[in-house]
């Protein structure tokens, strides 16, 4: 994977309800990278909504890198419109969004193929089919040429088979497209499996509890086998949360 340039998303003195008080961090979102925030309260979700232009009643400064035109937010419950089929879901947001994107059928079909929905263009999704609906949400984010896609705890309700299929899809997409992913999760194993950078977060703190670069961690633990390395990083994360009075970590 080629790292073309760094993308630093700066957040300065963010104040938002009781969730953030003078929150100040720099999120390093390298191009084509997958990054996770592990968080056991609502703060990461709130941060995602602020970055994804969902919430606007906050105080503070968000400094987007030049490369970011838009950050697309995918919420916890899948967000495709159940009254539209796959293709119309994508067309609808293109047609109605304030963005000036061209409604291009060829591009839409390409992205539908990319997210694994080829042959399902005219299907209406079942509300319970979380994986299918997530793929539509992902397709809608990709059609916007978004450089940053924010996934807010979308995998928590999925079965393992669906979840790992989607993890592989996300990994492939992050390599093929100039897009970074920032994922909010409560599952440490998911974060380690997917990410290059892991940020640990807790409500009320003015910065992240810790940021962990997994490449560096693997280098430090290169004498260990893969299973042990993962176990040690997991323990490290649990210890950090334990030190910060969070004992319900899993």
């Amino acid at each position: 994977m080629v790292k073309e340039e760094n993308m630093i998303l700066g957040i300065n003195n963010l104040n938002y309800r009781s969730v953030f008080k003078n929150f100040k961090v720099n999120l390093n979102l390298e191009k084509n990278s997958i990054n996770s925030i592990i968080c056991y309260d609502e703060s990461a979700s709130a941060l995602f909504k602020i970055i994804g232009n969902v919430e606007s009643d906050f105080e503070g400064e968000l400094k987007y890198p030049n490369t970011i035109k838009s950050a697309i937010y995918i919420p916890e419950a899948s967000s495709s419109f159940p009254w539209l089929n796959v293709k119309d879901n994508i067309k609808y947001v293109l047609k109605n969004s304030a963005s000036t994107l061209v409604n291009n059928d060829v591009n839409i079909q390409k992205i539908i193929n990319e997210v694994g929905l080829k042959g399902y263009e005219n299907h209406f999704c079942d509300n319970k089919s979380l994986g299918f609906r997530f793929r539509i949400s992902l397709a809608r984010a990709l059609i916007f040429n978004s450089v940053l896609i924010l996934i807010d705890n979308s995998f928590s309700e999925m079965d393992n088979e669906t979840k790992f299929e989607l993890f592989d899809l996300i990994k492939n997409i992050s390599k093929k497209y100039a897009v970074s992913f920032l994922i909010n999760t409560t599952n440490i194993y998911d974060a380690i499996y997917l990410s290059e950078n892991i940020y640990l977060m807790k409500e009320g703190n003015s910065k992240f509890l810790k940021s962990i670069n997994l490449f560096e961690e693997w280098k430090n633990l290169e004498t260990e086998d893969r299973r042990n390395r993962q176990q040690k990083v997991t323990e490290k994360i649990i210890n950090i949360f334990a030190k910060n009075s969070l004992n319900n970590v899993h």
Binding site: G52, N53, Y73, I74, E76, S79, V93, N127, R140, F144
Partner: protein
């Protein structure tokens, strides 16, 4: 009243059971009773009942009023959906009106309406349209704050304007939950209609009931009541079919 009430679950079976019990009891057991009419005599006099009471015309007027009321309220609700989903004077007015507990003021209003416009054919059409619009609007207003925000958040992140989100996303999210409202509404509409026609005593099935009470005609009273029950059941069935057909996403 909720949808799990027995009548809403299995109305047709209940009516058929009632008719079978009636035939058995009043044809073979209580032969000399005047509580309900005898089935054979009623069967033989159906033609007279239909002609003497102009039952077909009156039936069409009543069914027309109910259908008109529901369709007009649907059209009004659709065009005013944005206003119903935002905070404004119009919504406050509807909420305040509904807090009067609706049914009793409506009945009193009906008496005055008949006094002011005693013989108008169109009054009941307007009354039912107004009643059903208020009922559906109130339900939409109540439900706007109870639905999940995920679709709204996602749409906002994809750049849809607030107006489009409310009118095209939130409104569509609410529609499936309106099925029960429509099922209850049409029963309430029948109540309001029959009271209005009974008091007005000019057109409709309510006026037929009025005449039968004045003339103490048990056969007309019974036949009209069964006809009304059957029509309510058919409406109930039609509403369910329409929702299954067109509101397929839940």
């Amino acid at each position: 009243m909720s949808s799990d009430k027995i009548f809403l679950k299995n109305p047709f079976k209940i009516l058929i059971s009632f008719l079978i019990i009636w035939i058995v009891l009043f044809q073979f057991v209580f032969v000399w009773s005047n509580i309900l009419p005898k089935p054979i005599i009623l069967w033989e006099s159906i033609n007279d009942i239909l002609q003497e009471n102009q039952l077909v015309n009156n039936f069409l007027i009543s069914v027309g009023s109910i259908t008109f009321g529901i369709i007009v309220s649907l059209i009004l609700t659709y065009f005013l959906r944005y206003f119903l989903l935002t905070k404004n004077l119009f919504v406050d007015l509807i909420s305040a009106f509904y807090k009067l507990k609706f049914l009793l003021p409506t009945l009193i209003f009906i008496i005055f309406l008949v006094f002011w416009i005693p013989n108008s054919f169109y009054t009941e059409y307007i009354l039912l349209a107004f009643f059903s619009f208020l009922y559906i609007s109130k339900d939409i207003i109540n439900k706007r704050n109870t639905i999940l925000n995920d679709l709204e958040n996602s749409a906002r992140s994809l750049g849809l304007t607030s107006k489009k989100i409310l009118a095209n996303v939130k409104f569509k999210q609410i529609i499936p939950s309106l099925e029960n409202s429509f099922l209850l509404l049409h029963i309430k509409l029948w109540g309001v209609l029959l009271v209005f026609e009974y008091v007005q005593n000019t057109f409709g099935l309510g006026s037929v009931l009025h005449s039968s009470m004045i003339l103490k005609d048990l056969y007309v009273l019974f036949f009209t009541s069964v006809l009304i029950s059957l029509t309510i059941i058919i409406f109930h069935f039609l509403i369910k079919v329409l929702f299954n057909q067109f509101v397929h996403w839940e």
